[in-house]
């Protein structure tokens, strides 16, 4: 049973690690693109 608990912990850790990493990168990419849009708009207005 103790061994079983170890594998359960491992399983859930991997699951949430993949989820949080994926969601984090989506958020980061979204943030970077928004910054780039603001920058490009600023350049376009200056011209």
């Amino acid at each position: 049973m103790e061994n079983s608990l170890k594998y359960m912990f491992m399983g859930y850790s991997v699951l949430w690690l993949i989820i949080f990493t994926y969601v984090f990168f989506i958020g980061k990419r979204q943030g970077d693109l928004k910054k780039e849009i603001d920058e490009l708009r600023r350049i376009a207005e200056e011209k």
């Binding site: 079983s4 608990l5 993949i18 994926y22 979204q30 693109l33 849009i37 376009a44």
Partner: protein
């Protein structure tokens, strides 16, 4: 408005995930032969089902793209594939971790496992192909074809436990009823709802990301044209 709906879905998904975790760890009884490791089942199955939904959305959106040639459908297909790949990675890591204490090995060449791995390879190829083709319409057309053909593996994955007699992968949800205790079944259904809502939330965010990329691309063209 769309941002608010996305955030509401995200909030609902997060709340339901907390309930599903409570049910998986505290409400559902401990399985007699496998012990606590069986609790992986609730999210493992939920992610497996949702990966099928994700690939189905890609399949349907790919058909819609080929029929209408609207870019939106290509965006939906590509976004859903990425989620399907992420969810397939989850089931192909949680499954072996669960299998180790139960089967005595992380991996066996079981039909369900092999067909799921092939499914992951097909859609990873789809994803790589998208990165390799720069021309927008060509990329969308080729991706749509792979998105449709690739989906043929989904029913093979699902029915593999019935078609191949040498499988050791359990099939607890059968048409005649589930071979599970009522609390286990309830916990599974809640996990299914939670993960489906989570899929919807991330899909909406992923579509938004693709729209932002298009906006950047348009703005770059505009800036270059003016300079």
């Amino acid at each position: 408005m769309r941002k608010m709906i996305t955030n509401l879905i995200g909030l609902a998904a997060a709340s339901l995930i907390i309930v599903a975790l409570y049910m998986a760890f505290l409400y559902a009884p401990t399985e007699v032969t496998m012990g606590h490791v069986q609790r992986i089942f609730y999210f493992h199955v939920a992610f497996a089902w949702t990966s099928f939904i994700a690939f189905f959305v890609t399949f349907a959106a790919s058909i819609a793209y080929l029929v209408t040639r609207k870019k939106f459908w290509d965006t939906v297909a590509a976004s859903s594939v990425e989620l399907g790949i992420a969810f397939s990675c989850i089931i192909l890591t949680t499954g072996p971790i669960w299998a180790r204490p139960v089967w005595g090995a992380y991996w066996t060449w079981d039909p369900r496992l092999v067909t799921t791995l092939i499914l992951l390879f097909i859609y990873t190829a789809y994803h790589i192909l998208r990165g390799a083709i720069t021309e927008e319409t060509k990329r969308a057309r080729y991706s749509a074809v792979i998105g449709i053909i690739g989906f043929l593996d989904v029913p093979i994955v699902y029915f593999s436990v019935n078609w191949w007699s040498r499988t050791i992968h359990p099939d607890v949800i059968k048409p005649e009823g589930a071979a599970l205790a009522p609390q286990m079944l309830q916990s599974l259904y809640v996990a299914l709802c939670a993960v489906t809502l989570f899929y919807l939330y991330v899909l909406l965010r992923r579509i938004r990301l693709e729209e932002l990329r298009d906006e950047v691309s348009e703005l770059r063209k505009k800036v270059l044209k003016e300079s």
